[in-house]
């Protein structure tokens, strides 16, 4: 047996190791966000960034060029915070779904929730559903809920079980992606189509503070709901009946947590498009560091998800000069090999 198996987690029961992990992830996230604000076509020194933030947050009056002030505050900081919120929310959603559905492959992208949200958003954006009353996010949210209900019903009709829901999710994703493509090819003009396609692969361009005001509270509320149910999620380790016999109100917990997941996914997809792999890979990486207990796993997921997404955004902006890659491309290009590595590290004897 390999050493990795007898020592499953890097951070064990030592409180100082947990404290150090918490402190270092918070510092790292702060550093990544500063980096994300500094790096770009116009590079801005970290000191200028700090001054611009202080000017806006604390009413300080450092002398700065209006351009620098504007780039830092109105473009790059909002974008970085949006990336952090989306990364945290998607990673949390993955961790919740993997525990509730007892399937290591569960994540919003695989289960078709993201695809449903995309269809909903595109229906509002191109077909004009809701006569201007429905916002893009509301459309995405409704799409996410419809997709999730449909996939759940299909899985239940196919006999339930953890493998069924993945198969149902594959079917649901195909259906909603087809619907999205149908709407785009039949109704969108060329410019809309290009915009939609970029957005479907995930894009942080055009993020404004209003988006952050939506996404950050949703991520925070989702995190708090998940943390409140951390022990209930642990109780699902050996299945639904085992959880119920431990006194968990199984149906209520599932509805609340699946609702929170759909809400988080829908809110993020409505702003940044559907970004795959974060929800799948981050929870596995986090389990590798702190183990399977959700009391530690959920905050770790949120932090690593946020850091990963901010880093992916930086990479998407600098890897090709004068061009921005869709962030979904970056998360998949880094996420897939990382996932392979985790699978390899956590391999068990046949």
């Amino acid at each position: 047996m390999s050493l990795a198996l007898s020592q499953p987690v890097l951070i064990g029961r030592w409180w100082w190791a947990r404290l150090a992990l918490a402190a270092s992830t918070i510092l790292l996230l702060g550093f990544m966000i500063s980096l994300a604000v500094s790096i770009g076509e116009i590079s801005i020194p970290l000191a200028t960034t700090a001054k611009a933030v202080a000017n806006r947050l604390f009413g300080a009056s450092f002398e700065l060029s209006r351009i620098h002030q504007g780039i830092v505050w109105d473009y790059r900081l909002s974008r970085a915070l949006m990336a952090a919120s989306a990364g945290a929310a998607l990673a949390l959603s993955g961790a919740i779904l993997q525990a509730l559905l007892r399937n290591p492959l569960a994540e919003p992208y695989v289960l078709g929730i993201s695809a449903g949200a995309s269809t909903g958003a595109v229906a509002v954006m191109i077909l004009g559903f809701g006569y201007g009353v429905l916002t893009l996010s509301t459309g995405a949210f409704i799409g996410a809920i419809i997709a999730f209900v449909l996939v759940s019903a299909l899985a239940a009709g196919a006999g339930g079980g953890a493998d069924r829901i993945i198969l149902a999710g594959v079917a649901g994703s195909q259906l909603f992606n087809a619907l999205t493509s149908y709407i785009v090819t039949t109704s969108a003009n060329a410019e809309q189509a290009r915009g939609v396609m970029f957005w479907l692969l995930g894009s942080l361009s055009g993020v404004r503070w209003t988006d952050v005001y939506l996404a950050a509270p949703v991520a925070l509320v989702g995190f708090l709901i998940a943390m409140f149910h951390a022990r209930a999620l642990d109780a699902f380790t050996f299945g639904i009946d085992a959880a119920a016999s431990l006194g968990i109100a199984v149906n209520r917990v599932r509805i609340v947590l699946l609702g929170a997941t759909a809400l988080m996914t829908a809110a993020m997809v409505s702003v940044v498009g559907s970004i795959g792999f974060v929800g799948l890979v981050i929870p596995h990486a986090a389990r590798f560091i702190v183990g399977p207990g959700h009391g530690r796993l959920l905050p770790t997921c949120a932090m690593i998800g946020a850091i990963f997404m901010v880093a992916a955004d930086i990479v998407s902006r600098v890897i090709i000069p004068q061009q921005i890659l869709p962030i979904g491309v970056v998360t998949a290009l880094f996420g897939a090999p990382a996932f392979a590595l985790i699978l390899y590290k956590a391999r068990r004897p046949a």
């Binding site: 499953p8 642990d234 109780a235 009946d241």
Partner: protein, 254 residues
Amino acid sequence: MSVSVSDVYWSAGNTMIVNGISIEVSPGKMLGLLGPNGSGKSSLLRLICGLRKARSGVIALGDTDITRMPRLDIARRVAFVEQQATTEMQVTVLDAVRLGRTPHRGPLSPWNLVDDAAVNAALDHVGMRDRAHQLWHTLSGGERQRVHIARALAQMPKELLLDEPTNHLDIQHQLEILSLVARLPVTSIVALHDLNLAAMFCDTLAVLHRGKVVAAGAPEDVLTEELIADVFGVRAFIECSAHHRRRHIQYRLD
């Protein structure tokens, strides 16, 4: 009575699975549930711990009707060990046993000394204390069953329900698990397939057939050649074992 079930009915779809069952268990005793596959043993256990709702009839724990008990109160009193429950997660023995403390902890209350003591005592009972940090998927079937029992004991139950705990275990582990359960200071209800093991370890037996109790009482009264022929469709020869003084059943092929 520790557990009393009176005239309970439960159906899945149009099929009556539990068809008017009444049984009682005294505190600290071990009741064996016998019966062919599909006779309603698993369903009855799930009804007693509140995982399924009876269509009619009354199930009481102590003096309280379980329909009047919140799920959490039931979980503080009754522990249930399913058949072959497993996980894909990388949990350790300790992680699994600590789950047993779930009904005794609020969503935000920290882990305390009572929890620690309960978990350690449970691990000691099943002899897995020194294996606490071993990973679940490296355990054998018998070890996993012991961990499940430890998880149930960490719940500090008055009643312990076990659904075929000896399934897929070798004979050494079957004997080990049942003598462990027989020694425990709790009321237990155990669904079993092996009639000889039931005769050896249980204080009382109830034989289920097509959702009804067809015989109940002390093993020597319940296990008769006629009953085994009626219920299991097998011809048997029963004698009193010279070794342990309990019933010993031999099967005839002629």
